[in-house]
């Protein structure tokens, strides 16, 4: 069944088409919108599952829509890094489920526009999935724009006081980054005359003349994706955007959308590693440093936040720092650790944002002081939040530990022990603010009566939150599966043997 070739095109088209039909179908009955979106995500998830099974069985494969052969047609390529669509579908599905109750409650929301919210969410999913599986540089840019534009709108939709401001900041930075990616695509097309990634890689290798032009393209592309991934110093848009967005959207943005930047960086590395036209060592060293700085900066700012969602947003910057550091170390363990953290961080951060969203939904408060004592009134949500916190800090045997372990090993493997130390002590920093959170929820005297009297979150919120929290534990114990899954792709990336 997994060999049916059209799964690959279905997984991209389903959410995009779904986005178009959801508002139309729910014109009469608004309440239908979430369930249609859920059905669309289910189809997408099924397709993603089939693709995952296939890539695990036979490795890399590709699909050419309409039978136009590469390099003339557009290619969809599915390799082990594309398996990130598995987590995109999982979290997307859960985010839709979570939204059912959450969006009704948002301030200033116009009920008639709720279907558009689901349309935007599906559009965002489709953009991310397409971005992860395309083998074509121009499609790469198109999907990047689809997911970015829907992202800006999803931030603005929340109706919070500074939502427009946050969305605008996000838009501004995002537009610059998209533009520089577009420039780079243009450069590569100009130099090689092709838009297919694998083809471009081999043609870049055959280029003679100065490596300046390929280097500029590489630089533009990297900067573009660094903005999307919110790597220091290009992270300034992230905290507000992620904290202001509706909580299910925050989970998607923080867990998935920033990872698009990472996937982009990996794709660019694949092209350039294969061609060998520019030495990537300098870039990698830059990544390692920026990763280390991101870890510390993210953790440092998170310590001073009172707003739980802002805290979680800053913690995303730290975790992206882990991933970039792992990739930059360019040693087997480091890259494996970094790649697996793309998955694991998505799980953990989505669990945390869902739990925070449930707290805000039930109590109406979002700062640590106001939320004191909520551990007694909403025990399950807070338990999920605590598991997520333990996991993101990297206490074994949770999902977060594995990546820390691997990236630290990678640092020693690459003979850069300093970064091993930076990573592990950076994690201690992160601990400080999660302890503040746990203290506030469980051990400090409550200040708000609404918090003390709050009911446990509704089932449509508990299911996503608890299942992700459980996955944080399971993926820690079953950590070998993603590690061995990603290993062939990492070996190919490091040895430059065909992206």
């Amino acid at each position: 069944m997994e060999n049916w070739p059209h799964w690959l095109v279905l997984v991209v088209m389903a959410p995009l088409v779904g986005a178009a039909v959801v508002p139309a179908l729910s014109l009469r009955n608004r309440a239908l919108a979430p369930w249609i979106a859920l059905a669309v995500m289910s189809v997408t998830s099924l397709a993603a599952l089939m693709l995952l099974v296939r890539v695990a069985r036979e490795g890399l494969f590709s699909y050419v829509p309409g039978g136009w052969e590469v390099p003339y047609g557009i290619e969809l390529r599915f390799d082990e890094f594309s398996a990130v669509i598995g987590i995109i579908c999982l979290i997307g599905w859960l985010a839709v489920l979570f939204s059912v109750r959450y969006v009704e409650h948002m301030p200033n929301v116009v009920p008639d526009r709720i279907p558009y919210y689901y349309a935007l969410l599906l559009l965002n999913m489709g953009g991310m999935i397409g971005f992860s599986v395309t083998g074509d540089l121009f499609n790469f840019f198109i999907f990047l724009e689809i997911l970015s534009l829907s992202g800006y709108a999803l931030v603005a939709i929340s109706g919070e006081r500074i939502a427009e401001m946050a969305a605008f900041k996000y838009l501004l930075m995002g537009a610059i980054s998209s533009l520089s990616v577009l420039f780079a695509v243009g450069f590569i097309y100009g130099m090689t005359g092709t838009l297919n990634m694998a083809d471009a890689a081999s043609r870049l290798a055959g280029l003679d003349g100065s490596p300046a032009a390929p280097a500029v393209a590489l630089g533009l592309m990297t900067v573009g994706f660094m903005v999307k991934a919110a790597i220091f110093p290009l992270h300034v848009w992230l905290p507000d955007a992620h904290a202001i967005a509706p909580s299910p959207v925050s989970a998607v943005l923080s867990g998935l959308v920033v990872k698009v930047g990472i996937i982009g960086v990996i794709r660019v590395q694949q092209i350039y590693q294969d061609s060998g036209v520019v030495d990537l060592a300098i870039l990698n060293q830059l990544f390692v440093w920026l990763g280390a700085i991101s870890i510390v900066v993210g953790a440092f700012f998170a310590i001073f936040q009172e707003d739980i969602k802002l805290m979680l947003a800053y913690s995303t910057i730290s975790n992206i720092g882990y991933i970039v550091m792992g990739l930059g170390l360019a040693s087997t363990y480091g890259v494996i650790g970094g790649s697996v953290h793309v998955f694991n961080h998505a799980l953990i951060k989505a669990a945390l944002f869902f739990a925070a969203g449930a707290l805000i939904y039930r109590t109406g408060y979002r700062t640590l002081t106001d939320l004191r004592g909520v551990g007694k009134s909403m025990p399950l949500t807070c338990a999920a939040l605590s598991i997520g916190a333990i996991s993101i800090v990297g206490i074994p045997p949770t999902a977060g530990f594995l990546c820390k372990w691997y990236i630290a090993l990678g640092a020693f493997e690459a003979d850069q022990p300093f970064f091993g130390f930076a990573l592990i002590f950076g994690a201690l920093f992160i601990f400080i603010y999660y302890i503040r959170m746990v203290n506030a929820f469980y051990f400090l005297p409550p200040v708000r009566s609404e918090v003390v009297d709050a009911k446990e979150a509704p089932l449509s919120m508990l299911i996503p939150t608890l299942s992700l929290a459980a996955l944080c534990l399971i993926m820690g114990l079953a950590g070998r599966i993603p590690l061995s899954f990603i290993e062939p792709a990492v070996m190919r990336l490091l040895n430059g043997a065909g992206g």
């Binding site: 333990i390 206490i395 074994p396 045997p397 594995l402 820390k404 372990w405 691997y406 630290a408 090993l409 020693f412 493997e413 022990p417 091993g420 130390f421 592990i424 002590f425 994690a427 201690l428 601990f431 302890i435 203290n439 469980y442 051990f443 400090l444 005297p445 820690g476 114990l477 079953a478 950590g479 070998r480 590690l483 061995s484």
Partner: protein, 498 residues
């Protein structure tokens, strides 16, 4: 002989399951007590059932899951691990009875007993850890599960103590993690199943760094000076927690980690060549003397006990650092000797506090007339620490002295003598106050001759007396076959390849 057997896994799982039961079904007092006691006894039975095999030299192991691809979760009950788990399993039963009596009407009992069980689970997990990663896993779990116990009272003072505790132990944990990663990078394994995995082919700079990281990391919980600061502050916790922290779980785990580092990660031969243990031995000797000296000036009973603990723990570190078979025997045996004597003292302190409300030493005049059994137990423990023959503490001191002579480092004898004197100087005055001073007039005396006997309630008194009795048993019959001491000897033979 190595046998695959699930019991080393079951032992931590039992307490883990117990914690789950307490959290979910703990609101009924009787069920809660039932779960606590039955789990404690089950665990004791599991550990004891491995004892005959262990004494014959059988090692039980069970590899659960390889979750990192290379190093995984694995349990292994070797002689050293058995010794430690036996101590903690025995003390869990006793402390549970005591805690049920002590906590009485406290409101947050479910949380207390749940995390209490988790702590014991982690401790046994550490005892049976097959590799450094498993050990680290349970080490961190212990840190986190102790935190709610330390801040149990939720006062600002307790929260401050909790923060301090976490700061110290988490930084220590980070050191251990880096040390483990470096070890794995250097030799490709983290298994603790042989006398030393590191070898001389590893770059000396890395070896020194690994030794520093691991010893400093474990040294935080073992409260070696100058990284002992968390321990006296953590005294704000309820007394059963202090007993658990300072006699069984937390501090012993640090000492146990140091033993594992010296014996199983580096190995005595390699360390003998490298000579890193000399500064460690001096640091331990300094801690023994300095902490005892500070203890003399503490007016609060629990604080005095805390500093005494810091001093006693360094006996274990010193024994490990001297690197001779006799010293190693002393180090391992002291895990039990200190545990039982110190827990007796904490039980006494808790019993006095619950019965009379007194916490300061100057208030204890004549308390022995009112609580003769309780203070009798205290006397036994004091004599043990002072190193009287036939008490457990004597065994440690005797072997430690033999070990120092064996290594030609006779000056540690001086440390022993000084420490014994200091121990006498801060414990015996309490015994004197209790038995030889009259009770103050306003307190419960009907007439001059017969002060009213008002003992602690049985659930507090019986565990105290049991521990005190065991101190004598450990001291008087150490070499009887089947006693834990033979496990210590077996461990030493394995470590030194004898």
């Amino acid at each position: 002989m190595e046998v695959m057997d699930i019991r080393p896994l079951l032992a931590p799982v039992v307490s883990f399951a117990c914690a789950g039961m307490v959290f979910f079904y703990g609101s009924n007092r009787h069920w809660r007590h039932f779960w606590m006691l039955s789990a404690a006894i089950t665990k004791m039975v599991i550990v004891l059932s491995m004892l005959p095999g262990s004494l014959r030299g059988t090692v039980y192991y069970y590899d659960v899951i390889d979750f990192t691809g290379g190093v995984g979760l694995g349990f292994r009950a070797d002689a050293l691990g058995m010794f430690f788990s036996l101590v903690s399993a025995t003390l869990w039963v006793i402390t549970t009875i005591y805690a049920i009596g002590y906590m009485g009407g406290d409101e947050k009992r479910i949380r207390f007993f749940g995390f209490f069980a988790l702590c014991v689970s982690s401790t046994v997990g550490i005892a049976f850890a097959n590799n450094l990663l498993t050990l680290f896993l349970f080490y961190e779990m212990l840190t986190i599960c102790t935190y709610p116990l330390v801040i149990h009272k939720e006062t600002p003072e307790a929260l401050r103590a909790g923060r301090k505790y976490l700061a110290y132990t988490l930084i220590g944990g980070a050191f251990i993690l880096i040390g483990s990663v470096m070890t794995l990078d250097a030799v490709g394994t983290l298994n603790l199943d042989r006398p030393g995995i590191l070898n001389a082919t590893v770059d000396p700079g890395s070896l020194a760094l690994i030794f520093f990281l691991l010893i400093a990391g474990f040294g935080v919980k073992a409260a070696i000076m100058p990284i002992h600061g968390w321990l006296p502050t953590a005294m704000v916790a309820p007394t059963p927690v202090s007993a658990l922290l300072h006699a069984v779980a937390v501090v012993k785990v640090g000492a146990f980690g140091i033993l594992r580092t010296v014996y199983n990660v580096f190995g005595v031969d390699l360390l003998g060549d490298l000579g890193y243990t000399t500064p460690l031995a001096w640091l331990a000797a300094f801690t023994i003397i300095a902490a005892s000296t500070i203890a003399i000036f503490q007016g609060n009973l629990k604080r005095r006990l805390a500093y005494s603990t810091i001093s006693q723990l360094s006996y274990i570190v010193l024994g490990a650092a001297v690197l001779t078979p006799f010293a190693a025997t002393a180090a391992i045996a002291h895990i039990a000797n200190q545990a039982f004597a110190k827990i007796t003292m904490f039980f006494v302190a808790g019993a006095i506090e619950r019965t009379t409300g007194k916490t300061e030493i100057r208030e204890l005049d004549g308390i022995g007339h009112r609580m003769p059994w309780t203070m009798g137990a205290f006397t036994v423990a004091s004599l043990s620490f002072t190193g009287f023959p036939l008490f457990a503490g004597f065994i440690t001191k005797w072997y430690l002295c033999l070990g120092s002579l064996e290594a030609g480092q006779w000056w540690f004898l001086g440390v022993m003598v000084a420490s014994s004197l200091l121990n006498a100087a801060y414990f015996l005055p309490i015994v004197y106050l209790a038995f030889f001073k009259p009770l103050p007039h306003h307190e419960g005396r009907r007439d001059e001759e017969s002060p009213r006997i008002h003992e602690a309630r049985p659930s507090l008194l019986i565990p105290t007396l049991l521990c005190a009795a065991y101190v004598i048993v450990l001291g008087a019959s150490a070499d009887v076959p089947g006693m834990p001491f033979s496990l210590a000897k077996a461990a030493v033979q394995f470590v030194f390849g004898m």
